[in-house]
Amino acid sequence: MGEQSGAQNAWDMLSDEQSQKHTTTGSGDLNDILGGGIHCKEVTEIGGVPGVGKTQLGIQLAINVQIPVEYGGLGGKAVYIDTEGSFMVERVYQIAEGCIRDILEHFPQSHEKSSSGQKQLQPEHFLADIYYFRICSYTEQIAVINYLEKFLGEHKDVRIVVIDSVTFHFRQDFEDLALRTRVLSGLSLKLMKIAKTYNLAVVLLNQVTTKFTEGSFQLTLALGDSWSHSCTNRVILYWNGNERYACLDKSPSLPVASAPYAVTGKGIRDAVSSNHKRARVT
């Protein structure tokens, strides 16, 4: 086979896939159904009802991507694009503290020492490595996604981009629905390209809406029909009895599966009923 520009043979891709890095979600059960965590080079959509924990998970990922390599993490930085104003910085601080506490618990020989290049295990350092954009309209959302190509070229250590939430402004202000579909397709292609080019994870948080299918009203992710094919993976967060659950609803290589998780003071962790004995950091 010749060297066609952009084409790779499947064998080379296999070794790429195997060495693919992922970011832990904080919950071992959740990581398991995701094949280790949120994957780099892929776009993952996470949707759920209000209050189920989407923003909590988004913030957790923005922190966990920064876990230093020597503790099993990616040692990267995060971009957090906030379209709804849900980002509460005191909570981010709490989650950073929780992550650090878990690292120190699992690696007791390390204290808050730092050698050159190693991240100091202080919450302030974790907060300093989250690049935050506050977006107030769909125009700004389009602008920031376009601008990311340049921004990421200048900040090559970013390993995750979280958009919270991706559909908010498009549900509100767009009058021409056909145009909206075209614009959204363009955006989703751009996001996929960014994920692959810069070897990072793109996480899109989404709201829910109701849809009439099969004789009843069901919950579904917003802008579903025009948007649903745009993501590599889709995770739905929902309530199952008294517990929070995540369902991997779409994946190129993993089966559909559900797992429980919990939102604690420290952030996202395994549910109390989990089989995992300790909260895993990596």
Partner: protein
Amino acid sequence: MANMPVSEMRLPPHLAHLLAARRLDTAKDVLSLPEVELMAILDAGLPTARAAVALVSEAACPPCQTALALLEERVRLGGGGRLATTLCGLDEALGGGIPMGKLTEVVGPSGIGKTQFCLKLALLAALPEYYGGLDGRVVYIDTEFKFSSRRMIEIGQKSFPQIFRQEGLAQKMAGRILVTRPTSLADFTKSLEEMKVTLLQHDVKLLIVDSMAALMSLENEKATAGFRQHPLRWTLSFLKSIAEFSRVPVVVTNQVRSQSNDDGYHFSFEVDKKDGNKCAERFDSHLVAALGIQWAHAITVRLVFESHSGHRFIKVAKSPMSPAVAFPFVVESSGITLLSDESIDVTGPEITSIRCQGQNVLAR
């Protein structure tokens, strides 16, 4: 930023002229078009269209801040960014009180105490700082004619007897609270627009809308189903942007309604697993918040006022800072008081349901 004129963007002259010639005057005009359509309108090649989009995007994109810078800004502004309610257990659960710059919703059945809560908050925001208040003005949008000055002053006198004994203070406090009574959504919209200027010029520290649901139900009677969401969407965007822009807390009250068949409860992958019995459990006496799921997504904090087991409870149903907890309360002459500062944990479906004794609505 969306309306940023292209002329202010300092683009290379040939691009600036090209966009101006095609009447693409703002960032929104340029960025709302898919690439291919932009190429067609500009009658230019792909590299030119891409260059235009990249430069306009960079200009229109809001500046980036690190989360650390946000934290430092919060610390610098002081006050922890909260309006303390003086209900200790609740304040602790919320991380200090009602957050500034965000939308907080108070929802519950009628008569449970939502307006009483709002009256107390209005008072607290008006009080001088050395008494724990925000020392500012309050805008109270009263859509159901429930605001009572007499009652508010009574709450003040009973909660802060020392303060209110001072001569003229009651008058001064009451003078800081501006009450408007829109009778229609159009009226309300107009007051909100005028509000923007008021907020900035007159040192307003709290905005209360009591109640939002009442306004929307007026419109629902007139509008068709598809259109119904529009006034709410606009109002939602506007309230959120006012809140963030002026850093004031915005408190909105909402009503309840009984669950209907139109409410979806499960995702498609869940429905397969549920049997008929479980589906039926939904059609019992629980109530839901009015205004729909889009509204529920948009509010930052949801406080549910409900009653069951012979008591009334304030439940923190949605908050980025705390798990779902509830506190029992009563309404006295001094306003709302918590019976206990010890929170009660709430899990699962209880978080989102709203219970009201004595008002069971059965859909059987």
